[in-house]
Amino acid sequence: MTQFARVTWNAVALLAALAVLAISPSRAEEPVKIGVVLPYSGVYASLGGEITQGLELGFETYGPEVAGRAFELITEDSEVKPNIGLSKVKKLVFQDKVDLLVGPVASNVANALRDFVHQQKVPLIIPNAGNNLLTGERCSRWVIRTSFSNAQITRGMGPWLVEKGYDSVYLIAADYAAGHQMMDAFRETYTASGGSIIGESFPALRGTKDFGPFLAQIKAAEPKAVFAFFAGGQAIQFVKQFDEFGLKDTIKLTGAGWLTSPLYVDAQGPAAAGILGILNYVPGIDNQENQAFQEAYQAKYGRVASEFAVQGYDTARLIVEALSQTGGDTSDKDAVVAAMHDVSFDGPRGPLTIDPATNNIVQDIHIFETSPGDDGMALNVIDTLSAMQDPPNGCTL
């Protein structure tokens, strides 16, 4: 069971670091200290766990050391609270004197951290939080993102849906910044391609007990497709209720890929069949790197690696490759960030680079369909939009 593996990340990370040290006992070099601030409690605790596992596997695979320096992960629980996250980051920077920071999951926490790391000039590598502004208006040389921006995920779906004949959609997303940003990006490209949006709903992120009221509205509006963004419990609910209310027969359900994440697509069951998703990663991507990653991850953790795990995995690889360029030197933070701009590699998601203009990742975005597979639901990639790159969006680095 996963929870037993995650009882105390600190202890695990410490043990891992000790093990790494034990393998290379002759090295007298200081380890590279990486402060990891992710949620290990609260609503996103499961994501924090996935990313941490990805990170550990990544350092194992591409490390375990660089230029004689091992990696020491110091994990802190952000609790998905901005103030707590900031306090933990201060602890990591001031007390533990970490070389690099990795985190967080939630954009509001990332917003709270941004000014602090910008002032302290400690590189923060974001392995999830997708707020556009973090690599747009509020970008910083010291904030690098290996996950995605919200707009980057959904922008490609607009023209694609119009092309497939879905020329009228209803938008529905959780009512918070991420939901609005994803819908804004979709709306822009979709209407530009000639599609028409015939309704929008933004149910509350928390506290929504039931999608029934919204589903009745969608049904009455009679769109050809629905484009949705929900994650976690809300995604499970939405997909199941969409089916139960009989909308699936006449309306195509599409959305940002978290709608049918491998973490819970089996809980959704047959109701998820036929849903179109768009995301930066699905476990079924067909390339060697991904196969190797999934095999290693499943061998280690006994579970399919999710889109969150891969973001942790690639974050570790980015760090390792950048530090190998600087010869293991982390004292010159500017050089570390410059090295990250130079790194490019083929990961499980496909080819990756960091855009020096925004510090956001440039990556392939995958469109996939959910269908019943041999064991549980399968996510099959049906199209790939290659090298999606964000415009600067007001960022001047």
Binding site: W9, S41, P82, S87, K91, Q95, S107, D115, R138, Y176
Partner: protein, 318 residues
Amino acid sequence: MMSRETWRAGTAILLLVAALVSWVRADYFGHELLTQIAILAIFAMSLDLLAGFTGMISLGHAAFYGLGAYATAAFNLMLEWSPWAAMAGAVVVGAVAALIVGSFAVRLSGVFFIMVTLAVGEALHAYLFKSRAFGGDDGLSGIARPDTSSIGISFDDPAVFSLVCVGFACLIYALLELVVRSPFGRLLVAIHLNPSRVRALGCPVSRYKLAAFTLAGAIAALAGSLTAQHNAFISPELLTWTTSGEALIVVIVGGLGSLVGAAAGAGVMVLAMHHLSGVTDYWMFFMGLFFVGVVLFAGNGIYGVIDAVRRRLGGAAH
């Protein structure tokens, strides 16, 4: 036997000395913790005035704390007021909001009061979470601290800021200590003990409770304002029921109705959170259990233990 008040003041001085010693010895992160403790102490003491002295247990006190933070951000970022003016404005906003909420809440007692304050806090949280003007769930950043470069010190220095926060905590303690010793404060306790009797003695109970509620709201807003300046960031998270709940835990673990207990509780809470959350992801479990234990057995928390020493000493002297 030393009087209750003298003993309390003595404990307060001891706490202050402890704060100053740790200030001298603190590194950057030590100042961070000290700042957090001082701000939480202010917030908790304001709740103690309500819960401990007046008997109004609120689960929505974070509404005023959060409003103080939001008002500071709004005045500072949108109206471009100076940080000092924004702080003063925030206190006024907190007081006015508490006056409005209190005008119907103070008529309710016990569990009803808990539920209404909880609902008010959640409603405000729900509103701010959605409001585009105040940054929604993303919050607002870039709130400035007072500029005191003219006198040669910088509030951006964590050591200076932590000292300022400790100073504010002392000020609030002194103010509240005066209030609870005053005729007004004594009547609040009497209202807590027997509201109908005080009314029969000619006390307009609701008005007194409203005054206490307003004062507590203003002080909570000050704490919120300091938090906004401390983090240079605000978000709706500040107003959640868990923030209120944690403050209540601090007050009860510290000892209801003692002020200094709330301050001590703040120290214990921040340090425990800092150490426990590093040891286990399930630290809320232990915190909750500890809290239940205090409610069940320890009577009046940390200060209850301290006060027991006074009574023991008093007994021995006879």
